[in-house]
């Protein structure tokens, strides 16, 4: 039996996890930022054991345990965890010791990560940062950003050196200055990186699609054209990595009915459908922000014909789900035809053709529509665990769901690793073949029939007479006590 009570899964092919995370550790700043740039980086984006500070003025969530009430959601989804367990953990008032127990050290310790990968059925993995993706795009100082990007890329190189045939680093690019971006790409190539990451948002008024000469970028020719051409030249894959929308420097403006600042992400509107910014109920921005940032990027890139300018560019869309693609690509093809006479760039390659030729897209273990339409994803789909983020999952659950959906085993092998390795030019190796039995857990850890019964009530509260719960009206002292960070 497996951890979830089903028959244990075995596999014969190597699994490559194209999108799993570290929790950006403090040593990136304390040990890897070059000493002569420390003061500058402190004014750019700095994190230590006390807090994270953006632009020398704005405290932000940096990923430290102190940033979160309860457990750390960046390090929580590991072997044999589930959303039922996570919800229960939020409600039982974890002690400091218990919080440390549920934190997966692989988020910063490579040796621990390898043990956890074995348990999760992951042979090889592309390592991606976490709160850097959220905060770095808003950093203002170009030199500080460049120094921090170098520090992160050096740190992740060392992290992955613990197992060079299993751990692969994704580079982070400093978009604050195109010249630095290009320089860092050259350095990444010399270090053997296979992918470099951007986030498709309008931080600092620089949505990363300004490829044409324009004063928008400050200097007319200082454009993303140089970056995309460098990516073509180096062969490094462009990884578009999305994130929950949040402008960390919006301040009080976000409480206005109509904020007097521009949106930075299409995900900005999701949270505003709730009233959390006014102290009311939440609509979680994490639900769709990832999807929206990817869709907004791809729609305009494919409809404009931009990829025709960079025919050797290869682009991967990460952490944005993939179920929407079979709906939107055919529609974009249609729009492409409908606007044939109005499109400025005269190209005739359909969006679906450009995507098939140059793009890949990540999907997650629970995306049943992807598995049911596997022929659409057979050559472009990339499985990702998203570990250790709280919605992460192992490869065993993906294999189970693929089998339920009738995905042929050779296609499973491509979706779960073959496509990623082809994109990156990485040799596949099998390190784990069999799902482990249930882990031994301490007595307090949620599980068994008790958890299932509790979850049944939680899942359908109205059927159990619960018709009202207002977090905002609870005595805040109770909340402080229950949710105090460790």
């Amino acid at each position: 039996m497996s951890g979830n009570g089903e028959a244990r899964v075995t596999k014969s092919f190597p699994v490559f996890d194209c999108d799993a995370h570290v929790n950006d550790p403090n040593e990136i700043w304390s040990r890897y930022v070059e000493p002569r740039y420390r003061d500058l980086v402190k004014q750019t984006y700095w994190k230590d054991e006390h807090q994270a500070i953006l632009n020398g003025r704005t405290p932000v969530i940096g990923g430290g345990a102190g940033d979160f009430p309860g457990y750390n959601p960046i390090c929580i989804a590991g072997p044999q965890m589930s959303k039922k367990i996570l919800r229960k953990l939020q409600q039982i008032g974890l002690t400091a010791e218990q919080r440390r127990y549920v934190e997966h050290a692989g988020a910063y310790d490579p040796k621990a990560r390898l043990r956890e990968m074995d348990l999760m059925g992951i042979d090889q993995v592309m390592i991606i940062p976490t709160m850097l993706v959220a905060n770095f795009p808003f950093a203002e100082n170009a030199d500080g950003a460049y120094a921090l990007a170098r520090a992160y890329n050096d740190w992740v190189t060392d992290y992955c050196a613990a197992a060079p045939d299993r751990l692969f680093p994704a580079g982070w690019l400093p978009l604050q200055n195109v010249r630095y971006t290009v320089e860092e790409l050259d350095r990444l190539r010399s270090m053997g990186f296979r992918v470099a990451l951007l986030r498709p948002i309008d931080a600092r008024g620089r949505y990363p699609n300004y490829v044409f000469p324009s004063m928008v970028s400050g200097a007319p020719t200082n454009t993303m054209d140089k970056v995309f051409r460098k990516l073509e030249e180096t062969g490094i894959v462009l990884g578009m990595h999305t994130f929950p929308a949040h402008n960390p420097e919006a301040g009080a403006a976000i409480r206005h009915a109509v904020p007097p600042i521009p949106m930075t992400s299409p995900g900005d509107l999701i949270a505003r459908a709730g009233e959390m910014h006014l102290g009311g109920r939440m609509v979680d921005v994490q639900t769709l922000s990832f999807v929206f940032e990817a869709v907004a990027w791809l729609a305009q890139v494919l409809l404009s014909g931009m990829l025709d300018l960079y025919p050797n560019l290869r682009m991967a869309i990460f952490e944005s789900n993939a179920s929407w693609l079979p709906q939107l690509l055919p529609y974009w093809d249609r729009l492409f035809k409908l606007y044939a006479n109005e499109r400025v760039m005269k190209t005739d390659r359909l969006p679906s053709e450009a995507f098939a030729a140059q793009c890949f897209i990540a999907f997650e273990s629970d995306e049943t529509p992807v598995f049911r339409q596997w022929d659409r994803f057979e050559d472009v789909g990339l499985w990702s665990s998203d570990a250790y983020h709280h919605d992460g999952a192992d490869s065993w659950s993906a294999i189970r769901e693929m089998r339920r959906c009738g995905v042929p085993e050779p296609v499973q092998a491509k979706l779960l690793g073959g496509n990623a390795r082809r994109m990156y030019g990485i040799e596949g190796k099998v390190f784990v073949r069999e799902e482990p039995p249930p882990l031994e857990r301490p007595a307090w850890f949620p599980g068994g029939e008790e958890l299932e019964q509790w979850a049944a009530v939680e899942a359908d509260p109205r059927a159990h007479g619960i018709t009202g719960f207002d977090l905002a009206k609870l005595d805040p002292r109770i909340l402080m006590q229950a949710l105090r960070p460790y």
Partner: protein
């Protein structure tokens, strides 16, 4: 009931009118004309110049070239035909967009028995009107015009009322008025007005009233290309896409799906589907394949956020077991490939007379390609819509 050709009658859950100047000049009551002129006014002058006023200022037109993308399609046109239109020449709008007899003729040509009628200008601009009193008057004018339009054949033309959501009280009053007149469906745009989305508690009386009156809530986005940021996704998309100098609007490529999915997510977090279990809810003009994804994402994060404990953590189960409908487009293969998911909720919509109109034949071809059983095809093309709207 089968049509003359033996096939089930086709119901189109997503067709549009393009509002003529008559709405303002003939149907707006005289007492409100002055205030409405500065709140929201649209006309085409004798020289063919288009005037759109919104909140006292000229508003950007949805039309960016000689091709009116909201009303240029006619039966028989292919996407290539539309793409070949010269954008530097002013093309007349499709007569069926504002003339009911021409509309019925087009429906005959398309093989459509019954069509729901949605607004165009009142979808894009009207939700942004700031003067609530003017909005109420404009809604009455539009609804009265649309009602008269539909009288050309009440069995085939199903009007969908607009509601002045600028004030919940006005919205409820207009809903009461149009329901008494015979409207069976109301338009709700998933966009923000002064920071409020339609799931805001201020609108609870409206949702309650929609349920009580058995009027279907048709959640229908608009591209938002002309709208300000923070009101919908279209404005952000248009702004950032300008860097690429594409030459045409792009909001329609993604914003409707985004706006509609925010709505579905928001009502999952607020529990509308459970609080109003008999409310008829139709999601149209945004495609259908995103619906399971949005519900699944809502489920994941409802489980992961323990601060909400009074709504179902399984919104997908709730959605598919209540009176729900999802419009799908002719080219949407996922609906054809997963009939077990969509069988009782999917309903075809054409988008007529917009440039991206899909046809019944195209929908049938998509469904046939994946061997959808004929009984399911009949549900998709009319049965599900007929059941929900009572047509």
């Amino acid at each position: 009931m089968p049509a003359a050709n033996g096939r089930a009658r086709v119901v189109d859950v997503d067709s549009h009118v393009f509002e003529p100047t008559d709405v303002w000049e003939q149907y707006l009551d005289r007492d409100h004309r002055l205030v409405a002129r500065s709140a929201f006014w649209h006309e085409v002058d004798p020289l063919g110049l288009e005037v759109t006023l919104l909140n006292g200022r000229p508003a950007r037109s949805l039309r960016r070239s000689g091709v009116n993308r909201q009303a240029c399609w006619r039966p028989g046109m292919t996407p290539e035909d539309v793409g070949a239109l010269d954008p530097d020449v002013a093309h007349p709008i499709t007569p069926g967009a504002h003339d009911p007899q021409a509309r019925l003729a087009d429906m005959d040509a398309m093989g459509v028995e019954t069509a729901l009628l949605f607004p165009t200008l009142f979808a894009e601009h009207f939700p942004l009107v700031e003067n609530a009193d003017a909005a109420a008057a404009l809604a009455r004018a539009y609804n009265d015009w649309l009602w008269d339009f539909s009288r050309a054949d009440p069995r085939r033309l199903v009007p969908v009322a607009v509601l002045p959501l600028q004030h919940p009280s006005f919205a409820v009053r207009e809903l009461d008025r149009v329901a008494a007149r015979g409207f069976r469906a109301a338009f709700v745009r998933p966009s923000f007005f002064q920071g409020r989305f339609p799931n805001h508690p201020a609108y609870d009386p409206l949702w309650e009233r929609l349920q009580t009156l058995d009027v279907a809530a048709c959640v229908h986005p608009s591209p938002g290309s002309t709208n300000p940021e923070w009101s919908c996704e279209g404005a952000f998309l248009e702004r950032v896409a300008k860097n690429l100098r594409i030459g045409h609007d792009v909001a329609e490529a993604a914003a409707p799906f985004m706006d509609a999915s925010i709505f579905l997510t928001a009502i999952a977090f607020y529990g509308h589907m459970e609080r109003y279990p008999k409310l008829k809810l139709a999601l149209v003009h945004a495609g259908a394949a995103w619906v399971p994804l949005a519900l699944e994402k809502a489920e994941t994060y409802l489980w992961l956020f323990s601060g909400i404990r009074d709504v179902s953590l399984e919104p997908e189960r709730v959605f598919f077991h209540r009176p729900s409908l999802v419009g799908f487009d002719s080219w949407e293969a996922p609906v054809a490939r997963m009939p077990d998911v969509y069988e009782d909720v999917a309903a075809w919509g054409s988008r007529y007379p917009q440039h991206d109109t899909g046809t019944v034949e195209e929908a049938r071809a998509t469904l046939a390609r994946w061997a959808v059983p004929e009984a399911t095809v009949e549900k998709y093309l009319g049965g599900n819509a007929a059941r929900l709207f009572g047509v």
